[in-house]
């Protein structure tokens, strides 16, 4: 599974403002041994590239750069692959322009 690296999403996210709710991620990936096609799709579909593979080839999520768009919810929640919610009030991405 090769994820598009030509565009550095990290640089894009760098200009955004976030208030990270440390230790309280609002999205969780269900424990799995082999990722489902839906989970694998998130590696590419997430516009903030929050999803990545760990060294055991399992899908992990790091929500720090999440823009709360809901794409992963639409793809991954119906299959039970992820649990999706909003950050606590006031936390998360803070758009200056939107």
């Amino acid at each position: 599974m090769k994820v598009e690296r030509s565009v550095r999403v990290e640089d894009k996210l760098f200009c955004n403002r976030y208030l990270v709710d440390a230790g309280r991620p609002h999205i969780k990936v269900r424990a799995h041994t082999k990722p489902s096609p839906q989970l694998l799709a998130l590696l590419k579909a997430c516009p903030a590239r929050c999803y990545d593979l760990n060294d055991k080839e399992q899908v992990e999520v790091t929500v720090d750069g999440c823009m709360e768009c809901g794409t992963c919810r639409v793809i991954g929640e119906p299959t039970g692959d992820i649990e999706w919610g909003y950050p606590r009030g006031g936390y998360g991405v803070l758009f200056k322009f939107g």
């Binding site: 565009v7 200009c15 903030a48 823009m67 639409v74 200056k96 322009f97």
Partner: protein
């Protein structure tokens, strides 16, 4: 726990929620509005074109102090292939009017202003508060909400769900389905800053005049989607959105698509040398009329994007949100002033009023469009743009080929690509869906 009881609780301080809260507060109702962002607008993303008429119905004098960017004097539609675009541009001096019809705005700033009007009208607005659940009684009637702020519930006669496209509360309470990958588009967007004069020179503008560009074609790589470029005072909003199902199917990444759009030879010169100050992403409801859920029930109504009230063909959403919010509020007020309970039966008035408005009439007009676009995305977003571009080039290049031959070869390229049956079929289906 907030001990007070409210006439209405509005979830969300976006376009729909603000319209609803403002309308009810102005009529003297006791309104609580809850917003999860630090301030209204801090979670919201839009292109953004503001349609004045729908806002004027809520705040007639909005032009005096609303944060507006530019009034639009020109609209461009671009059909793009990888190296060219064929454009339809409409520009009119008539749009330089005192009460302009359309403006560009910056949503985070606009929502903040809109929210200040809601407060002035007397509503209680609580930001930094995520509503986690709807409170329901034993009969399933909605009686209030639960938030992440204080334990306990806040009660009201009616809850207005203005929670936007993801609509977590309504789906958790099984009032409607969660959005499906083929019914929502993911849009990514950047804010490009440039000196004012540079923007005005590049877009051919005087003073506060504005231009917007809507673009479709090979930029979406065969997926159902569109790009946009909107001129603001000192920045340019630029973005592209495609169906989530298409991203899932193709494995293309949203940021790569956005970057390709930015590098397109027709787009790159417009943003050259700019400083990007924000990268945002948001879903857009694209399911159309057939995706509209049940709009009311015992103790609740749903408005705006949460109700899929979004006209993807005309790129209108915020105005449908504002209008549905206002109409829901008016229906609630009518029920209240007649001392009727907020039951499903009585709240059906909202739907009847919405049926009579442009909101559901427009949605209904294009009821077959989403399916047509989604099932024919390769043709509409790849094949035709390429053919049209080639036809234009053949037509414009002067190379000694007789015109009749040029026309023949152009026609042949269309027939080869789509066959006569395909061409007629596409034209027929398109005309029928547009009708």
């Amino acid at each position: 726990m907030i001990e007070e009881r409210f006439d209405a609780i509005v979830v969300g301080a976006g376009m729909a929620g603000n319209a609803a809260a403002l309308t009810m507060a102005k009529k003297g109702m006791k309104v609580l509005q809850l917003e999860r962002g630090e301030y209204a607008g801090s979670k919201n993303v839009q292109g953004a074109i503001l349609y004045a008429d729908m806002l004027e119905k809520l705040i007639p004098e909005f032009r005096e102090d609303a944060p507006l960017e530019r009034h639009l004097v020109e609209q461009r539609f671009w059909i793009m292939d990888n190296r060219s675009h064929v454009g339809l541009h409409y520009r009119s001096e008539d749009f330089n009017e005192e009460r302009a019809n359309r403006y560009t705005i910056i949503r985070a700033q606009f929502d903040r202003w809109f929210s200040s009007k809601v407060r002035e009208a007397g509503a209680t607005v609580l930001c930094e508060t995520t509503v986690t659940d709807l409170a329901q009684d034993a009969y399933g009637r909605v009686i209030g909400v639960r938030t992440d702020r204080q334990d306990g519930e806040i009660h009201a006669d009616v809850v207005v769900l203005a929670e936007g496209v993801s609509g977590l509360l309504g789906t958790r309470a099984r009032l409607r389905e969660r959005p499906k990958p083929n019914k929502v588009a993911l849009a990514v967007k950047e804010m490009h800053f440039l000196p004012r004069e540079t923007i005005e020179a590049r877009f051919n503008l005087n003073g506060d005049e504005g231009v917007v560009i809507e673009a479709a074609g090979t930029i979406s790589g065969g997926m159902t989607g569109m790009g946009f470029i909107y001129a603001n005072k000192e920045c340019i909003s630029l973005g592209i959105g495609c169906l989530v199902a298409d991203f899932q199917r193709t494995g293309r990444t949203p940021y790569e698509l956005l970057d390709r759009f930015k590098r397109h030879p027709s787009v790159a010169p417009l943003i050259e040398g700019s400083e990007v100050k924000e990268y945002a992403a948001h879903l857009i409801p694209e399911g159309g009329y057939k995706a509209i859920p049940q709009l009311y029930g015992d103790g609740w109504v749903v408005v705006g994007d949460a109700a899929q009230l979004n006209n993807a063909i005309h790129r209108e959403g915020s105005n449908l949100a504002m209008t549905s919010g206002r109409i829901a509020a008016e229906a609630i007020f009518q029920a209240k002033s007649r001392r009727l309970a907020m039951t499903k039966e009585n709240l059906a008035l909202y739907k009847r009023m919405l049926d009579r408005s442009f909101v559901l009439k427009d949605m209904k007009k294009y009821k077959d469009m989403p399916r047509l676009m989604h099932t024919n995305s390769q043709n509409f977003f790849l094949t035709y743009p390429q053919l049209i571009s080639k036809a234009m080039q053949t037509y414009l290049r002067v190379d000694g080929t007789p015109k009749t031959e040029k026309q023949k070869s152009t026609l042949k390229s269309f027939v080869n690509a789509r066959s006569w049956i395909g061409l007629f079929g596409d034209a027929f289906r398109f005309a029928r869906a547009w009708r």
